[in-house]
Symmetry: C2
Subunit: 254 residues, 2 copies
DNA sequence: GCTGTAATGCGTAGACCATACGCAGAACTA
DNA sequence: TAGTTCTGCGTATGGTCTACGCATTACAGC
């Protein structure tokens, strides 16, 4: 029998996650805890919001709480565990299920924009190295609400999951790109609106039009020089994906 | 005038990247260099291939080369710069442009599968915190070949870029998921084929069917318990995206 | 009320990490 | 041959996570 599995054969959850599901009560012995897992996670989120994920170290979070570094390890098994919990509360609760009368497309659009909005506000969420499929309560809440959007459709359960995976992946990807541009412009001391034009000029300087004809054509068309509305960009890709989903639903229906 | 921009107003490239474009020759004075940027990058890639990205430290790479840690800093400005170069050689050259007679869809499918294959072999590429749009020669080569697939279509240049972004994002996302499952199964000492079923059992244990009805339905359908071919999963999402692109091309054409 | 037990807070210390700085020596130019 | 400039790299600083052990606290049972 392999280690790290419980009696059911399921993977074992870190204690702090189990307590997030309310599956673990505190033993009544010993001194009253001066901290708590939510307090610690909130402090860590505050640090990340203020100074980015790289500023989140155990000592920094402890300082935020007026506690000693090692005190945190009484509540959290490791930094990775803390990060997992930070993701949960960083996303926050799902915006709620779609209205029953909503078209699936309207529901999923709202769902995608909600995640987009969260990631815009807390771009450090994208830098957390996610270590597996979601197991925290709020994360599964997002999944649940996404699934409900597809409730009335002809898709199979597996297809619904695939569609949500596709969309959430797209949202994360677009947000990653946007935050990189923002970060790059801050690092280079350039106005964010000047970032893409500057990138265009850089690529134009580097490439040989004979070796990179298609790319050269893109540059000549001025695509990179103009500073598009990122929201338009996001909406474009999302509509392409939803068009693809719609095609599948039509096929399953007819 | 802001710092970190050159006379053209373009962002300044790190020296090691400029040399990758052949824009910088060595001054003829001083002792012969015992190392070179490509040698160092190759060693770093070897370390990452063998022991993962976390094993890539300056001292470990130096040891791989039989050099002192600080010797590397004569060639590479920082570890981040080394990582950027590792990504370039880690991806390697693009598989080549599509055949001119190929349909755009066949070309993009091949392009996406090629990236998929690279990321399957070198999953550490996904963990490198990418810090901006591509500026290295091989990276732009991939972009070029992707653009050529869309050469004969009715799409605008900006739309072509968006489509490629969409696809590459999808590929990275799917690969990230797959590598997380592989990593998780290794960490828990479970057979990779048992990973998704174990996850399904875990979620089933956690959720309350009343609070998570849609998710419960997915579990009841046994979706998570069966161990699908990951390639089928990948092909499914890719086809959905390409369907969406096809819809757009049709609309632009007609 | 006393004692045993178990949990908490946290100080110390070890094993890493990136990298700033400075110096000795090598290889070229003049 | 002298001067310059670049290389290799040793040392040192300040940061990271976390294993371990100890004193303190608070409850359970007697």
């Amino acid at each position: 029998m392999a280690a790290k599995t419980d009696d059911d054969g399921g993977p074992v959850l870190p204690p702090a996650i189990e307590s997030a599901w309310g599956l673990r009560e505190r033993p009544p012995k010993g001194p009253r805890p001066g901290l708590s897992v939510p307090t610690i996670v909130d402090a860590a989120v505050r640090v990340a919001d203020a100074d980015g994920l790289t500023a989140v170290s155990m000592s920094r979070v402890a300082k935020e709480l007026g506690a000693a570094t090692m005190a945190l390890y009484r509540y959290v098994g490791s930094k990775d565990e803390l990060l997992m919990l930070m993701v949960d509360t960083g996303y926050g609760p799902s915006p709620g299920p779609a209205e029953p009368e909503d078209h699936w497309r309207a529901g999923l659009t709202r769902w995608a924009w909600a995640e987009h909005e969260v990631l815009r506000r807390r771009s450090w969420l994208l830098q957390v190295p996610i270590s597996g499929p979601p197991v925290t309560p709020l994360q599964l809440g997002w999944l649940e609400d996404g699934l409900r959007c597809l409730d009335g459709t002809t898709l199979g359960e597996g297809e619904k999951m695939s569609v949500l995976l596709l969309i959430t992946g797209y949202v994360r990807n677009e947000a990653t790109l946007a935050s990189q541009i923002a970060e790059g412009s801050r690092a280079a001391g350039v106005e964010p609106s000047e970032m893409m034009p500057a990138y265009g000029r850089l690529v134009a300087r580097l490439i040989d039009p004979a070796r990179f004809p298609a790319l050269h054509r893109v540059l000549s068309a001025g695509v990179l020089y103009q500073d598009d509305d990122p929201d338009d960009e996001f909406a474009f890709g999302l509509d392409r994906i939803l068009d693809g989903v719609e095609a599948l639903i039509q096929r399953r229906a007819g």
